[in-house]
Symmetry: C2
Subunit: 167 residues, 2 copies
Amino acid sequence: MLRYFASREAVFLLLTADGWQDWATTVEETLKAPAGPPAVAAALAASLAERPLFCDLLAHSQLSLERGVTQEQVRAFKLTTLDAVDRISHALTVALPWLTRGQAVDVIAGTTAMAAQQWQTSNPPEALARLYAEDRLFAHVASEFTPRLARLVTLLLSGAAASRSDP
Amino acid sequence: MLRYFASREAVFLLLTADGWQDWATTVEETLKAPAGPPAVAAALAASLAERPLFCDLLAHSQLSLERGVTQEQVRAFKLTTLDAVDRISHALTVALPWLTRGQAVDVIAGTTAMAAQQWQTSNPPEALARLYAEDRLFAHVASEFTPRLARLVTLLLSGAAASRSDP
């Protein structure tokens, strides 16, 4: 086992890859019929809120995990991720039949970027958590994960919907 | 100097704070008249593309920099960042007078999250860059920073525009 993984980064990257596949399965199970952008956004935000480890790994995978493994390991990781993106894209177009494939891939990139950042914002290290609790000036910064992510994904999907009616 | 900064993280966090103020100044200078969501998105993406160090620091500030400094240092950082967010929010509402203050703050959070992620995607470590260059399967993953960020920010802003006409 240890000889195969070779590094802690490789283990975490495998967990991240599993997280992508697991998230894709939940998205497929949730988005089975046409729905409006706010409902789809709420479903995506809720499915990510249920996966705190995955959201944490999302932030770390680019910055350190992908850099600490062999080319073969990063290739396997990317293949699994691309497959998950394909599955999620397809589920998004089931719920939103007017969404183009390119828009779906952009929305997934935007959603995971915002989930990665918002998860860190909503789960600050101790010194920051104390600051948010003690100093009224910062109370509003400690925004909750699910509502803000749902608002942001709603903007992405409503923007995609609006582009349909543009010339 | 070294006694004051105490850590490398503190120095990088000061650079990140400067980056926020510097970006705010450029956004204020660029967005001086009403414009459509695609033009505003293109201006934001271009202003971030000109700031590769800031985009790189954005990804690192939450994950490691904010964790490696004292409460006083992180408080000063947050104050500078909040001031920059205020300035950028105001500039956004000059260009898009219908944008609410809450939407502007959400759009800034979304934009910086996507810029942080996309900058890492567009500037991969060596093993990944080689993979993208050698393996046709991955050629499309190495998406360019400015076009994708502009597309994503356009979706956010068009989504906000669409919410105006909703009941």
